[in-house]
Symmetry: C2
Subunit: 334 residues, 2 copies
């Protein structure tokens, strides 16, 4: 009983598709709404991202969760580092996931968490659109930030919608061009690389921002009635005016969303409170609050990221990997 | 670079002694005082210990930390479970530790955390006495609770002091007798198993409580001038009168100690605040606040437990294990 399965990124890729990830995240959002997904507010360890000490350029977040529908508990420890890690050509995200049997207390799996983090982040964007754009299947979207999470968002959204047009903006036009090349198979219509940020938002149904920008670059006047905005960066990517005038604000996790990301600054100023929020994504997914956007509404939907998604995905990965005989095993408690 | 060493309890035992653990914890306490030990407040996941759901009898705490003196970051995920785990004859504590290189972000080790948890908990009691009982080397102590942590406390205290007498009380006298048998080698003088809780506290220099009691069984009138009380249970083991009349209260971690353990109730009632506290153990260890107890003083010292201790110990274990070629290796990021 006390042996732990060890799984690499390669093992995970063998048993997981983006379609799986979207479905797993959707179920876990429903669990949030129904009260069977238990997800304490994450706790951070600043390694020098903002703090003066330690002298590194990163942070780590500890994200424990229990997910009722798969009866699994676990923790993801994940963060981002620049500095020497970037110089060495390693990806920004570093992460591990541990799973335990919540009844017996033994650790059932240890696996890479970076791949799952990237895929579930994209899935959270897709599910944000699933419960807001309920009136059509063919959509036009804007992506700000042609990096990893722009890609996984596109891949995940394509599992639920037909993307008739994707307008992408990146600080570096070459990144946009590379994105266009890589994402072709997920987009039915055209991918348009724009040079002016304002142009990306024109005539789209949804705007996804996945940048590391510390500027409020997305302007209120670009966002027209009927549009959904999904900001996924660590900082505030849209201006105060939009946040304060959006018809509905939805979040994945109230505690976390008021303390980090796009709403942090206005929440700290007392201008956004729990009462300002229309619903959690989970409440809408569970049918407790109405889904859908009206043609005269503008919706801000913030899936800041919850460990519960990672734990649910990791649990499915573990069970499939055991069935397939993948990975390795180690007995920690002997 | 991206390979992770895996270590079992057996591997850890091969490279670690209680003497090491006491020294490592001491250095890490000094780091707390000097500001080089970074230890965010732990975040809990209730699996049904207090919450109505999920339906299990346990909890897990996520404890990330960075320790400057060994330049290491990591997380311990640790908790306790009764119920089916207890029925299966498994120990209360279940735990894993992950270590990372704080500059490069790669995960360097995954190891069992239960053994380290038990040993460091005992060491925290020993260091609490080291900085309060500074005027003698031969001491008499009382232990309430003849379980694992009563044992590791005794073992650790014997690294710093000669124990001239140890008075032990347990709800079950047979547990006390077994403790006496097991702990002989660590106690120079006699181990006295008492049947009446009050008798344990008679004529001792220090009282260590390591019980799962939810009663405030340790009475103010039992605690005489010159005595140090170190409560390590999850609940309040001593009465309000003692806490409110102790001459000095020391803690290992202000944030945690005001929200759990012995001070929780009075802190929530506003009767104990950060201002009530004399010092952190770290401040005393670093020489920023005076050590020692006066003959007319009674000190309450609360080492509730910090992940930094575990991360520091695990780092030393990792480095020694690599040198000795112990454990196994797995590449998670491939």
């Amino acid at each position: 009983m006390e042996s732990t399965i060890l799984l690499s990124q390669g093992d995970i890729k063998e048993v997981l598709t983006m379609k799986d990830v979207v479905e797993i995240c959707d179920k876990t959002f429903v669990g949030f709404g129904e009260g069977t997904t238990i997800n304490p507010t994450k706790v951070g360890l600043d390694l020098g991202e903002k703090a003066a000490y330690p002298p590194y350029e990163g942070f780590m977040n500890a994200m424990p969760a229990y997910v009722g529908w798969c009866d699994s508990a676990g923790i993801k420890w994940a963060g981002g580092l620049l500095g020497e890690r970037k110089k060495a050509g390693l990806p920004y995200i570093t992460s591990m996931i541990l799973l335990m049997n919540p009844k017996m207390g033994n650790f059932t799996a240890a696996m890479d968490g970076a791949l799952i983090t990237n895929w579930r982040t994209g899935s959270q964007a897709a599910i944000s659109l699933k419960y807001t754009i309920t009136h059509k299947k063919n959509i036009k979207i804007a992506i700000y930030g042609a990096g990893m999470q722009g890609r996984t968002s596109t891949m995940a959204i394509s599992q639920i919608f037909d993307i008739d047009e994707l307008r992408v903006y990146d600080l570096y036009k070459s990144a946009g061009e590379k994105f266009k090349e890589d994402m072709k198979e997920y987009v039915k219509g055209e991918i348009v690389v724009v040079e002016n940020p304002e142009d990306a938002a024109k005539d789209v149904d949804a705007i996804i921002t996945v940048t590391q920008s510390k500027n409020k670059f997305l302007k209120n006047e670009w966002i027209k009635p009927g549009m959904v905005v999904v900001p996924m960066g660590s900082y505030q990517e849209c201006d105060d005016e939009f946040i304060l005038s959006a018809d509905k604000i939805m979040v994945d996790h109230v505690g976390q969303c008021l303390h980090r990301g796009v709403l942090k600054e206005l929440a700290e100023a007392g201008k956004i409170t729990e009462e300002t929020l229309y619903a959690t994504i989970g409440e809408v997914a569970a049918g407790k609050k109405a889904a859908g956007i009206k043609s005269d509404e503008r919706i801000l939907c913030v899936p800041i990221g919850t460990g519960a998604m990672d734990i649910a995905i990791a649990t499915v990965v573990r069970d499939r990997a055991i069935e397939k005989g993948l990975g390795d095993n180690f007995a920690f408690v002997v």
